[in-house]
C-alpha cells in the first residue's frame, strides 16, 4: 500500500509540473497586462508609461516566460506562491484565508448532498418502479437540470427577503457573530450547493443499489434466515457504498465549480470568489495558486479514492494498478 501511495504521489508531482507549465503558458498569453491594471489610467497623475514599466520590472514581467517560470517553480517548491498583484499579499496567505470559508461551504454542501442523495437513491432502488422511485428519479433530474444560480436567486428572494428567515449574503454578520450566526449564513448557500449535488448522488446511489440488489449473495443472506434489515443494511448497503465512495471522492473537486457560482451570488469570501476577482484583475499569482490548489485537490482526491477503495473493498489490492 505504501509503495502504491509513493508511486502515485510521484506520478502526481509529474502531472502537477505538467499542469503548471501549461497554466503558466496560458496565463502569460492572457490578454491584459497586470502592470497596466495596477496603474489606473483615470486616477494616475504623472508619467504613466514609466510607472507601468517600473511595475513590470518589479513583478518580473519584463523577463522571458522561461525565466519567469523557473523563478515561479523555484518559489513554488518552497511553498511560496508569490505575491498577489493587486493586494501585494502572499498568495499562500490569501489562499489559506480563503480556504476556510470555501471548505466550510463545500464540506457542508457535500454532507447535505450525501445525507439527502444517498438515502433517497437507496430508497428508490429498494422501492423500484413505485411512485417513490419515479418521484426520486424525476426530482433528481430536476435538481440536475435547474441551474443552481437560478435556485440561489430565488432562494435569496424567498428566504432572505420575503420570509426574512435567513441572511441574504456573507459568511457572518459584521465582526463575527458567533456560531449560530455562522450557521444561519451557511444554511442557504450550502443547501443550494448540496441539493444540486444530491441529484447525481441519488442516481449513483440508486444505480449502485440496484446493481447490488440483483446479486445472488443477497438471496444467500436471506436463505440464512437473516432479517431484512440486516440483509439490506449489512450486505446490500455495504456493497453499494463501495463504488459510491470512489465517485464521491473523485467528484469533490467538481464541488469547486458549484462553489464559484454560489460564492459569487452569496458574497461568500471563499476561493471561488477570489478566483473570479483574480481573473478580472489579471492577478496571475492568485490565479496560478488557485488552479494549482485545485489540481492538488484533484490528484489528492483521486489518490484518496483509490486508497479508500482498497480499504473498504477487500478484493482490491494496491499494487500499482486496480484489479
Amino acid at each position: 500500500m505504501l509503495a502504491f501511495i509513493v508511486r502515485r504521489l510521484a506520478i502526481s508531482v509529474v502531472v502537477l509540473a505538467g499542469i503548471s507549465v501549461l497554466l503558466f503558458v496560458l496565463l502569460q498569453l492572457m490578454p491584459g497586462d497586470p502592470a497596466e491594471m495596477m496603474v489606473d489610467p483615470f486616477s494616475f497623475s504623472g508619467d504613466r508609461a514609466a510607472a507601468v514599466q517600473q511595475r513590470r520590472e518589479e513583478l518580473g514581467l519584463d523577463q522571458s516566460m522561461f525565466v519567469q517560470y523557473v523563478r515561479w517553480i523555484g518559489e513554488f517548491v518552497q511553498g511560496n506562491l508569490g505575491f498577489s498583484y493587486s493586494t501585494q499579499r502572499p498568495v499562500t496567505e490569501v489562499m489559506l484565508e480563503r480556504f476556510g470559508p470555501t471548505a466550510r461551504l463545500m464540506g457542508t454542501g457535500l454532507v447535505i448532498a450525501l445525507l439527502v442523495g444517498i438515502p433517497v437513491g437507496i430508497l428508490a432502488a429498494m422501492r423500484r418502479n413505485t411512485a417513490v422511485d419515479y418521484g426520486a428519479t424525476v426530482l433528481s433530474l430536476v435538481a440536475i437540470s435547474i441551474p443552481s444560480f437560478f435556485v440561489a436567486l430565488i432562494g435569496i428572494y424567498v428566504f432572505g427577503l420575503k420570509l426574512g428567515w435567513l441572511p441574504t449574503a456573507g459568511i457572518n454578520s459584521p465582526g463575527g457573530g458567533g456560531f449560530v450566526d455562522s450557521v444561519r449564513h451557511l444554511v442557504l448557500p450550502a443547501a443550494i450547493l448540496g441539493l444540486a449535488l444530491a441529484g447525481p448522488y441519488v442516481r449513483y446511489a440508486r444505480a449502485a443499489m440496484l446493481e447490488v440488489l440483483g446479486q445472488d449473495f443477497l438471496t444467500t443472506a436471506r436463505s440464512k434466515g437473516l432479517a431484512r434489515r440486516r440483509v439490506i443494511g449489512r450486505h446490500a448497503l455495504h456493497n453499494a457504498l463501495i463504488p459510491l465512495v470512489t465517485v464521491v471522492a473523485v467528484q469533490i473537486p467538481t464541488l469547486f465549480a458549484g462553489a464559484v457560482i454560489i460564492e459569487q451570488i452569496f458574497a461568500w469570501p471563499g476561493m471561488g470568489r477570489m478566483a473570479l476577482d483574480a481573473v478580472r484583475a489579471r492577478d496571475y499569482p492568485i490565479l496560478l495558486g488557485f488552479v494549482m490548489a485545485v489540481a492538488v485537490l484533484v490528484l489528492l482526491c483521486n489518490l484518496i479514492a483509490d486508497v479508500a477503495y482498497a480499504i473498504i473493498d477487500p478484493r482490491i489490492r494496491l499494487s500499482g494498478a486496480r484489479a
Binding site: 423500484r128 446479486q215 445472488d216 449473495f217 438471496t219 444467500t220 443472506a221 436471506r222 436463505s223 440464512k224 434466515g225 437473516l226 432479517a227 431484512r228 440486516r230 449489512r234 450486505h235 455495504h238 456493497n239 463501495i242 473498504i312 473493498d313 477487500p314 478484493r315
Partner: protein
C-alpha cells in the same frame, strides 16, 4: 410410514411482467421424507428452482405464490409470516447455491458470513461462533480453517468456496438441505468432491437432501427418489431405479435417451426435440404435446393429464403412460 419432512402441494407461483403475469409453477408438489435424498430434475424454466424459492419465501419481488401449501415438519411455510419463516431458513433448512462466487458476499470474510448464520439462530458469543466456524470449515475439508475464516471469498478457489457454502448451510444442523445445482459451476474434478462432501455431511447430520439439477448423472449417483418437472408441473415421481429403468412419461424418457452413458456428465442437458415451452404461451391441454413423440395429434392431448399412480410409489402425468410401461427403456 412416518410424516414427510417437507410436503409441497398444488403450488402455483406467477411472475409479474409488463402487461400481466406469467405462471412459473402450475400446481407442482412433491414430498421429502426425513433423511431422504430427493432429486428434482428438469430443464431450465421447468419451475424446479422457483418451487423451492416459493416455499422458502425467497422469490424476487416480482414473484408471488398464488396458491398451494408447503408443510415443513407439520407447519405450513406459506402461511408463515416473514419473521417465522426467517427462523426456519438457515436453521431448519439450509441452502446451497449454484455459483459460490456470486452467492458469497465479496466484502465479508468467510468466517463472518458463516458466523452470521450461527448467531442469527443461536445466542452464542462472537468468540464461540468463531470457534464453531473453524470447526465447520474443518468439517467440510478446508485446511487451516482459522486462517481461512478470516479470508474473503475471492481468496478461495471455486471448490473451496462451495465447501464454505456447504459449511454455511450446515451451520445450524438443519434437517433439510436444498442444493440448487451445487456443482454446475465447478470443474468436473471438483464436482465429484463436492458431491461426496454433500453426501457425507448429509449422512453425518442425518439431514434430508433435495438435489435440484438438470444433470441426470448427479441424480443417479446421489438420490433415492426423483421428481421430474416440466413447465411448472411435476410430470413424474418415482424411486431412482424406476425412473432410470421404467420411465412412465415421454419427457423423462426423452431426458434419459439424450443421456449418453451413465457416469459421463455433460454441462448442458442434451436436447430433446423442440424448445422448452414459453411459460407465457403454454399450449392448451398437455404442455408437452408439441414435443411429445406419442401425441401424434391424439385427442387426449387436448386435456391436461392428471398425476396418477402407475406403480407402487411411481406417479406419472401422461395420458399414455400405459404405452410406455410396455416399451421399457431403449
Amino acid at each position: 410410514m412416518s410424516e414427510p419432512l417437507l410436503s409441497i402441494e398444488n403450488l402455483v407461483t406467477e411472475f409479474r411482467v409488463e402487461g400481466g403475469t406469467v405462471p412459473a409453477v402450475n400446481g407442482a408438489g412433491y414430498q421429502v421424507m426425513p433423511g431422504e435424498t430427493v432429486g428434482v430434475v428438469g430443464e431450465s424454466g421447468s419451475g424446479k428452482s422457483v418451487t423451492v424459492a416459493s416455499v422458502l419465501g425467497l422469490l424476487p419481488s416480482s414473484g408471488r405464490v398464488v396458491s398451494g401449501t408447503a408443510r415443513f415438519a407439520g407447519r405450513d411455510l406459506l402461511a408463515m409470516r416473514e419473521r417465522e419463516l426467517e427462523q426456519v431458513r438457515g436453521r431448519d433448512i439450509g441452502l446451497v447455491f449454484q455459483d459460490p462466487m456470486t452467492a458469497l458476499n465479496p466484502v465479508m470474510t468467510i468466517g463472518e458470513q458463516i458466523a452470521e448464520s450461527l448467531r442469527r439462530h443461536a445466542s452464542i458469543s462472537r468468540r464461540a461462533a468463531a470457534t464453531k466456524v473453524a470447526e465447520l470449515l474443518a468439517e467440510v475439508g478446508i485446511p487451516s480453517p482459522k486462517e481461512r475464516a478470516r479470508q474473503y471469498p475471492h481468496q478461495f478457489s471455486g471448490g473451496m468456496r462451495q465447501r464454505a457454502m456447504i459449511a454455511m448451510a450446515m451451520a445450524n444442523r438443519p434437517r433439510l438441505i436444498i442444493a440448487d445445482e451445487p456443482t454446475t459451476a465447478l470443474d468436473v474434478t471438483i464436482q465429484a468432491q463436492i458431491l461426496d462432501l454433500l453426501r457425507r455431511v448429509q449422512r453425518e447430520h442425518d439431514a434430508a437432501l433435495v438435489m435440484i439439477t438438470h444433470d441426470l448423472g448427479v441424480i443417479a449417483e446421489m438420490t433415492e427418489r426423483v421428481v421430474v418437472m416440466y413447465a411448472g408441473r411435476v410430470v413424474e415421481t418415482a424411486d431412482v431405479d424406476s425412473i432410470f429403468h421404467h420411465p412412465r412419461h415421454p419427457y423423462t424418457r426423452g431426458l434419459l435417451r439424450s443421456l449418453p452413458r451413465l457416469g459421463e456428465r455433460r454441462d448442458e442437458l442434451p436436447a430433446i426435440g423442440g424448445q422448452p415451452p414459453d411459460p407465457r404461451r403454454l399450449p392448451d391441454g398437455c404442455a408437452f404435446r408439441v414435443r411429445c413423440d406419442l401425441s401424434g395429434g391424439r385427442a387426449e392431448c387436448g386435456f391436461q393429464p392428471a398425476l396418477s399412480e402407475v406403480a407402487a410409489g411411481h406417479v406419472s402425468a401422461c395420458h399414455f403412460h400405459g404405452e410406455l410401461a410396455e416399451e421399457g427403456v431403449a
